[in-house]
């Protein structure tokens, strides 16, 4: 398969998976002991995969598509929160994935989740014009710890399979019509 076709097709699929995951997550009820809005953040997996496969910019593209989806379904504030959180966490995860081996997958997942929450919190603080929103910080930090560990573990588990699938996809023969 041509490299360009391969990229376009796989990028589209990844974006679709990311959007689907975030949609499915939004259907989950919040457990009583968790703060409102706490989500496992599984769609971060896709960003992680895109950045480990291709690097920063495609991963940012996925974050942007996710943000647009959030914007269409839940309004402008959701757009900005998703964008800011997604971009920040993508930056952090790409750096860690591609430039150091010191962190394990769990560490990368945790940092990605923290950055995601932090980005969202900043947008929330600016939108409501009040810094007491930052009172959420400790709870969100703990949630990011749990969610990040989860994404890190899942990512570690599915990475070989994804890698194989992507490779196989690249090597399928183009059909001449």
């Amino acid at each position: 398969m041509k490299k360009k076709t391969y990229f376009t097709a796989l990028f589209g699929m990844l974006a679709a998976v990311a959007v689907t995951l975030s949609f499915l997550e939004s259907l989950l009820p919040t457990a009583a002991f968790l703060p409102p809005g706490a989500k496992p953040g599984l769609s971060n997996l896709v960003n992680m995969f895109a950045s480990s496969l291709w690097g920063l910019f495609p991963a940012l593209g996925i974050a942007a598509i996710k943000a647009c989806f959030a914007g269409i379904t839940r309004g402008m504030t959701a757009f900005w929160m998703s964008l800011c959180g997604g971009v920040l966490s993508t930056f952090a995860m790409t750096l860690l994935l591609r430039h150091t081996r010191r962190f394990g997958f769990v560490g990368i997942g945790v940092i990605g989740a923290i950055c995601h929450n932090f980005g969202q919190l900043c947008v929330a603080a600016v939108t409501v014009g009040n810094r007491s929103v930052l009172g959420y910080a400790p709870v969100l930090l703990l949630c990011a710890l749990a969610a990040g560990t989860l994404t890190g573990l899942i990512f570690r588990a599915v990475l070989p399979a994804l890698q194989r699938a992507a490779d196989a996809f690249l090597h399928t023969k183009d059909r001449k019509g």
Partner: protein, 350 residues
């Protein structure tokens, strides 16, 4: 490898700082207290540039000192008001500076609503009681009668062109509005050179009269405590959350003295010549100017709440009335801004 990690950390730090910046945590606050006009002057400024804040703080304190020393002091020979009072023939119309004329005129206008209880020409009585010099004494009845006759503004003439004249023996007194006037001056100094150019917020306190400008580092509104009339000097019983405004309090606890078992305070009722008898123990006024808030707080204390509310309305001002039984009344415009923090005080709806 090491280099890369360094780079990563630099980038993450830069991002974090950038995002903190968007939440607005970069302003600094500086506070300085000095003595001017015989009272503590505290200036608290919030802004971005530390050297500039420092400069602005000093400029405010200096402007307050200059105002007292050259214009409104009744006791310093260098001040314009002192010289005006010291003239051989006060009945002769004498020109004064715009600044002094403006202060005299505004004060006289407000005290015109006091039913004769407060006046610009109150110096004869305040001097007799030793209030300005804090050399307190209870004068004899004859002395009081004589001094009372020399108080009141009917004989004080402030003509259009900045000329002043009054009856011989009378003493014009800006003592009750001096601190508020100093707040006005401080705010003016900031607005002229610093506010909006690096200084984003300011609180000026001159002997208990407070001016607020801009907004604090931590939010939109300033918190100003109201002195607990029965507490120590730094105790407050309630707080007000305010934007840009001027606040003054007149209370019986200030400048009081006890003689022969009776306690006298400094808020003289010019119609009796004695400290005003009242169930009020303090009134705090929130107004658009420092002189106004000072004059109105004195006036409100002297005339009582009912009449005070009418006058406050004329000046679009608000007030908190504190009674000796620790009940608190507040005008509608301040109700939401007021939080009573001391449970011994009861806020009563009026």
């Amino acid at each position: 490898m090491q280099k890369r990690i360094g780079f990563i950390f630099a980038l993450v730090t830069a991002l974090t700082l950038f995002l903190c910046g968007c939440v607005g945590a970069r302003t600094k606050t500086l506070s300085k207290t000095a003595v001017a006009m015989g009272s503590a002057v505290t200036v608290k400024l919030a802004g971005e540039d530390e050297t500039q804040i420092q400069e602005a703080v000093d400029a405010v304190i200096e402007s307050v000192q200059t105002l007292d020393g050259t214009v409104i002091s009744k006791n310093a020979p260098s001040a314009e008001l002192y010289r005006l009072n010291a003239r051989e023939n006060p009945e002769m119309k004498t020109p004064v500076s715009d600044e002094l004329y403006d202060a005299l005129q505004r004060t006289k206008a407000i005290y015109a609503h006091s039913e004769g209880k407060a006046a610009l020409a109150s110096g004869a009585l305040t001097t007799l009681w030793g209030i300005d010099t804090e050399a307190f004494r209870v004068p004899s009845q004859e002395e009081i009668e004589a001094a009372k006759a020399l108080c009141g503004d009917k004989t004080v003439e402030l003509s259009e062109k900045g000329f002043v004249s009054f009856r011989k023996g009378q003493i014009l007194n800006l003592g009750s509005v001096g601190k508020g006037l100093a707040c006005d001056k401080g705010v003016q100094t900031l607005k002229n050179a610093y506010f909006g150019k690096g200084v984003t917020g300011a609180v000026i306190s001159v002997g208990g009269s407070v001016a607020t400008l801009g907004s604090p580092e931590t939010g939109e509104r300033w918190t100003v405590g109201i002195r607990d009339p029965y507490g120590t000097a730094n105790a407050y019983f309630a707080t007000l959350r305010v934007g840009e405004t001027f606040l003054s309090t007149s209370g019986t606890y200030e400048k009081q003295f006890t003689e022969n078992g009776k306690t006298y305070h400094h808020l003289l009722d010019l119609t009796t010549g004695y400290p005003a008898e009242s169930t009020l123990c303090s009134v705090t006024v929130c107004a658009a100017g420092g002189l106004e808030s000072d004059a109105l707080s004195t006036l409100c204390f002297l005339v009582g709440e009912e009449r005070a509310r009418e006058v406050l309305e004329l000046y679009n001002a608000e007030a908190v009335f504190v009674y000796t039984d620790k009940t608190v009344h507040v005008t509608a415009g301040l109700r939401d801004a007021l939080t009573v923090t001391d449970t011994a005080y009861r806020l009563e709806a009026v």
